[in-house]
């Protein structure tokens, strides 16, 4: 198939981009890395009347220190996250997960902002942001606002973004001392969306009990979800000590099946990936 006809704009300033995105008649749609949007357009599953290509907006690119944490411009590509020393030090969870996010060719083009705005429930990045307690900055001609990751992802391909708003940055807070991270996913082929995956963070010295667990799943429900009952079961314990109880508490997740795994399999594999992540924590 060929994409339906559309108008193409490549603004050179954020203000210009935001003005273009106000055109709801044409369903103006931002183009970031195009790794999901362009295939959907070629299947005519997406038929925006106007594409607003963000590739010239240098303000939206780059990784910088932000009060001990890190600020990632929405147009930062995965390949640049993978090469970033700052990410490796301040957001090691992202560095751990990157090799599992699609394939090199996709990481060369795909952007963090594009993934966040798309909110594919099978994608890794939204769950990583939940586990990292990240905030998402969105901007429109009227100004900017921030959302906590937990308030941003509302359902399958559904976010708190409103018409005319653009994701401009992701901010990851400074990790607490002894903050630890783990990531584990099960994908049928390397680079595929996972059958189930989990990102875990917690605070505690190695071998000691940990607190402030954040257990964030992807590809098990209609959105990235935190397993709060499992987190409670883990609280205060060394990771593996609470593992069985945490796995037993996973029933709270509103699982959704897909072509590769029904709900029972999602539940089972969620337990497996959690245990394997906790072993690595």
């Amino acid at each position: 198939m060929k994409a339906a006809e559309f108008r193409y704009e490549r603004p050179e300033s954020l203000a210009e981009a935001l003005a273009l995105l106000e055109d709801t008649d044409l369903d103006a749609t931002p183009l970031a890395g195009g790794q999901s949007l362009v295939p959907m357009m070629n299947f005519r599953l997406a038929m925006p009347g106007m594409l607003v290509d963000l590739s010239e907006l240098d303000d939206l690119k780059g990784i910088s220190e932000d009060g001990g944490g890190v600020r990632i411009g929405a147009m930062t590509r995965y390949v640049d996250l993978a090469g970033s020393d700052l990410i490796a030090r301040r957001a090691p969870l992202i560095a751990m997960a990157l090799p599992y996010i699609a394939h090199a060719a996709i990481r060369n083009r795909g952007t963090i902002g594009g993934s966040v705005a798309l909110a594919d429930p099978a994608a890794e990045m939204p769950a990583l942001l939940l586990a990292l307690d990240a905030t998402i900055t969105v901007q429109s001609s009227a100004g900017s606002k921030t959302h906590g990751a937990a308030d941003f992802f509302l359902g399958m391909y559904e976010t708190a973004l409103e018409d005319g708003e653009l994701v401009t940055a992701i901010t990851i807070p400074a990790p607490a001392p002894h903050r630890r991270f783990a990531f584990y996913e099960l994908a049928r082929r390397h680079g595929d969306y996972a059958m189930a995956g989990v990102a875990v963070s917690a605070t505690g010295a190695v071998g000691a009990g940990c607190t402030d667990f954040r257990v964030a799943y992807f590809s098990v429900a209609d959105r990235p979800v935190r397993a709060t009952a499992a987190e409670a079961a883990l609280d205060g314990k060394a990771p593996m000590d609470g593992a069985e109880a945490a796995v037993a508490a996973l029933g709270e997740i509103p699982f959704a099946g897909d072509l590769n795994a029904g709900i029972a399999t999602k539940l089972h594999l969620s337990g497996v990936v959690l245990k394997r992540a906790l072993e690595r924590l």
């Binding site: 198939m1 060929k2 082929r189 969306y193 590769n260 399999t265 539940l267 089972h268 594999l269």
Partner: protein, 802 residues
């Protein structure tokens, strides 16, 4: 046997050497010429509206908006083409009882599968054609669909073709010996299993495509075709468009993979040809990936209930099974959709001495895409059933799986032999390949290691298969049944004025290297260097008449025709040379493009460094072509030779292989890691080891796809749910094991070349070895799986985990 016996030993023979592909640079530099690369003046583009439902009556189609859309040149419904296309019927005489109704390129009144073409829009660009197609309103009164093949024969199942009274398309039972008595014996152990094989398809890198040009001044239709059988397509286009056969030219240039997908009659391609003819302008149609998944033939889709009886000393006393397979709403034209089931009946257990055998196959209609011949037709089903039952039986009686094979495989010195169904087997080497396999994989050490690892909670398994592959088919395959499918192929070789040769053959190249091996054979047998050979294939206007490349026949049949043509041309050239040089043809040879005296190197057979060169081929050719005045008047030089070849006396030339897989199953996740795969294969004479190994490895990978990944998933109402490359999982490099390929060479005595086919063994054999390996790993856990693909979820279910 006639012909030269020394061609394989000639100093400049290329046969048996891994000669690099002459076309590799061209393809890697992006200079390939595929159908979509063709741009013709005034060319139009076609897009199709396809049925959104699996079964329904067309109530109304409003194409008025589409017709009025700027850039649209024509809109055709199925009814519009009735006057232009003669319907086709996918039955053959030798498949007695097979029934299938006439089919049109696009549905006329009833749609019978999701994706069936409904309306064709022809416009100045594909995008415009799609824009207009989106404006077409189709009203379909849905009928109850038949999707589950196991329920298709229920008395209360909706009947897809009312005139037949049921959804049965074909049924055949074969029987040998007295299986009932054998199963009833007191001294046998009986093992029963149900095997399930998912539907999958051959995902070609280049999708199906056609560019069709019609010239009314000569009533001439040219069809550029991404396919495997140009002469078959020539016949089909002529017959069903009402053109003289000679007024249809079919051209296959580079073809980006086919795997059996591209030897069938597809409605969208026939409609494209009809439109080009009606409009008098070239029309291009290129299937997009969604159209490929919906309409490229699917394969497999079998449920087999099988049982085996073995004696305490491991002898197979009887084998029996019932197979049901769903083929979609029609039998595919012209090869039919019953061949796969027929192959399952013919091939199951064919590696083994089998006296008591009964098998029944039922082929049923259903409202899914058509099923037909895809790489290794029927083979994976036959091998999985036979070797799956055999390995499970071995475990039941406590016998090693290698040992039970040794006790049942037909002896290497017992040929010629016949299968239980009466097919003639010759020149096979089951024991030799199995022995080599056991040595290459270090079988005993690996078994010991696995036992050790199991104590540590690591579940590894080994599975084997001893298989046969049908190659080099004779006229008994299709021609006997009335199909316009040649089993003979021809090669013409012409000496060029510059001393090079031009090879023109009716077998075709789809990426596997056919043209390379033809060049190797021609160069070696005739006596020139590889870079002095040009090859043309795929054009009905300029090549000899033949079948093309499918059923692993390119090397064995096209190769033999090429060998014979090269030998004939050589003799013709030597007659001319002898006249010019006042020598005798017997005293001359051709080596590296030079006419030399035989024996001038002292070695007899010619070609040594000290061979005395008498004249170059170029001198000879230029003398004949330009200066014929220098030749005696009674000499009529022919510097071109054509030879044809077909297999006689046997229906197929069988090959054999022994393969093994080593896997590790993660019982927590159901994931399987394929650690190693070994294939010891006997395709007779190996013409180009690198290319043969590539065929085996690619075949194994496709078998891995069928065993673990690939499945066309339909909903109950007949919607294909995973028609994208993201959801339909093809095997990819990251998950592939090392595939170790070894050869035993038992040349077939049906030809001088001695080459059998190698294209399908990997696909036909690997699923059985892989399933056996998974079950070997699962056995200590008390679980087993006999359903493909073996997905993580299915393995977890087998384990009782979910």
């Amino acid at each position: 046997m006639t012909g030269p016996l020394t061609i394989f030993d000639r100093p400049n023979s290329h046969i048996g050497k891994s000669v690099p592909r002459p076309d590799a640079n061209r393809l890697l530099q992006g200079r390939g010429k595929f159908v979509d690369d063709i741009q013709l003046p005034r060319m139009l583009h076609a897009a199709f509206v396809r049925s959104p439902v699996a079964h329904g009556r067309i109530e109304n189609m409003d194409v008025s908006q589409a017709r009025a859309f700027p850039g649209v040149m024509a809109v055709y419904t199925g009814a519009d083409l009735v006057a232009h296309v003669e319907p086709y019927v996918g039955v053959l005489d030798h498949l007695a009882g097979l029934r299938s109704p006439p089919q049109m390129p696009m549905a006329v009144d009833v749609v019978r599968w999701t994706g069936e073409p409904l309306v064709m829009v022809v416009a100045t660009s594909r995008a415009i054609a799609e824009d207009a197609a989106a404006l077409i309103e189709v009203e379909i009164d849905e009928l109850p669909p038949v999707t589950d093949m196991e329920r298709a024969l229920d008395v209360d199942a909706p009947v897809i073709h009312e005139q037949y009274g049921s959804n049965l398309a074909w049924e055949r039972t074969v029987e040998a010996g007295d299986p009932d008595a054998a199963f009833a014996r007191a001294d046998v152990t009986v093992v029963e299993r149900q095997f399930r094989f998912g539907r999958h398809t051959g995902v070609t890198l280049e999708s199906r495509a056609a560019v069709v040009e019609y010239d009314p001044s000569e009533n001439m239709l040219t069809f550029w075709y991404s396919g495997q059988a140009p002469h078959m397509m020539q016949f089909i286009l002529a017959k069903h468009l009402g053109l003289p056969e000679e007024n249809v030219r079919v051209v296959s240039q580079d073809v980006g993979g086919s795997f059996g997908i591209k030897i069938h009659t597809y409605g969208d391609e026939i409609a494209t040809a009809a439109a080009a003819r009606i409009l008098g302008r070239p029309v291009k149609f290129v299937a997009d990936r969604l159209e490929s998944f919906l309409t490229d033939i699917h394969a497999r889709d079998h449920v087999v209930d099988g049982r085996i009886a073995v004696t305490a000393d491991g002898k197979i006393a009887a084998l029996a099974f019932e197979d049901i397979t769903g083929i979609g709403p029609y039998s595919m034209y012209p090869r039919t959709s019953a061949i796969e089931a027929n192959q399952v009946l013919n091939l199951t257990g064919a590696a083994y001495t089998l006296e008591n055998y009964r098998a029944r196959a039922r082929v049923v209609f259903q409202n899914k895409n058509l099923m037909s011949q895809y790489r290794a037709v029927g083979h994976p089903i036959a091998m999985v059933v036979a070797d799956g039952l055999l390995e499970d039986a071995a475990h039941e009686i406590g016998m090693d799986v290698v040992e039970i094979r040794r006790r049942n495989l037909i002896r290497d010195d017992a040929y010629p032999s016949t299968t239980a169904t009466g097919l003639k087997l010759d020149d096979l080497s089951h024991h030799k390949t199995l022995d080599r396999l056991v040595a290459v994989m270090d079988y005993d050490a690996r078994r010991a290691e696995h036992a050790h690892l199991r104590d540590a909670g690591i579940y590894r398994g080994i599975g084997l298969v001893s298989m046969v592959e049908i190659t080099n088919p004779s006229p008994m395959f299709y021609g006997i049944g009335g199909a316009p499918i040649a089993s003979q192929d021809g090669t013409t070789i012409r000496l060029e004025a510059g001393g090079a040769i031009h090879v023109s053959s009716s077998v075709t190249e789809q990426g596997q290297g056919t043209n390379t091996i033809l060049a190797q054979i021609a160069a070696g047998v005739f006596g020139v260097a590889m870079d002095r050979v040009k090859v043309t294939t795929g054009d009905t206007r300029s090549t000899p008449y033949g079948g093309g490349t499918w059923a692993s026949r390119g090397a064995g049949i096209g190769g033999e025709a090429t060998l014979q043509a090269a030998f004939a041309l050589k003799q013709q050239v030597l007659v001319v040379a002898a006249t010019i040089l006042q020598s005798s043809p017997d005293g001359l040879d051709i080596v590296d493009g030079q006419i030399v005296d035989i024996g001038s190197d002292g070695g007899g057979g010619g070609g040594g460094k000290s061979a005395s060169v008498r004249m170059s081929l170029s001198d000879l050719a230029r003398t004949v072509y330009y200066r014929g005045n220098e030749l005696p008047s009674d000499l009529t030089p022919e510097l071109i030779a054509t030879r044809h070849y077909r297999v006689t006396d046997v229906p197929f030339v069988f090959t054999n292989a022994a393969m093994a897989a080593e896997v590790e199953v993660d019982p927590d996740t159901g994931f399987v890691k394929i650690l190693n795969f070994w294939a010891v294969e006997d395709c007779g004479r190996v013409i180009n080891p690198d290319l043969v190994d590539g065929q085996i490895r690619g075949g194994v990978v496709q078998g891995i796809g069928g065993a673990f990944y690939e499945e066309c998933l339909y909903s109950e109402d007949g919607q294909l749910e995973n028609a994208t490359m993201a959801d339909y999982l093809v095997p990819m490099a990251f998950e592939m094991p090392d595939i170790i390929v070894e050869h035993v060479e038992t040349p077939t005595r049906t030809s001088v070349l001695g080459a059998k086919g190698a294209g399908e063994a990997g696909t036909g054999g690997s699923p059985a070895a892989l399933m056996n390996a998974v079950n070997d790993a699962l056995r200590p856990l008390g679980a087993s799986i006999h359903q493909m693909p073996m997905t993580p979820e299915r393995i977890l279910k087998a384990l009782g985990t979910v």
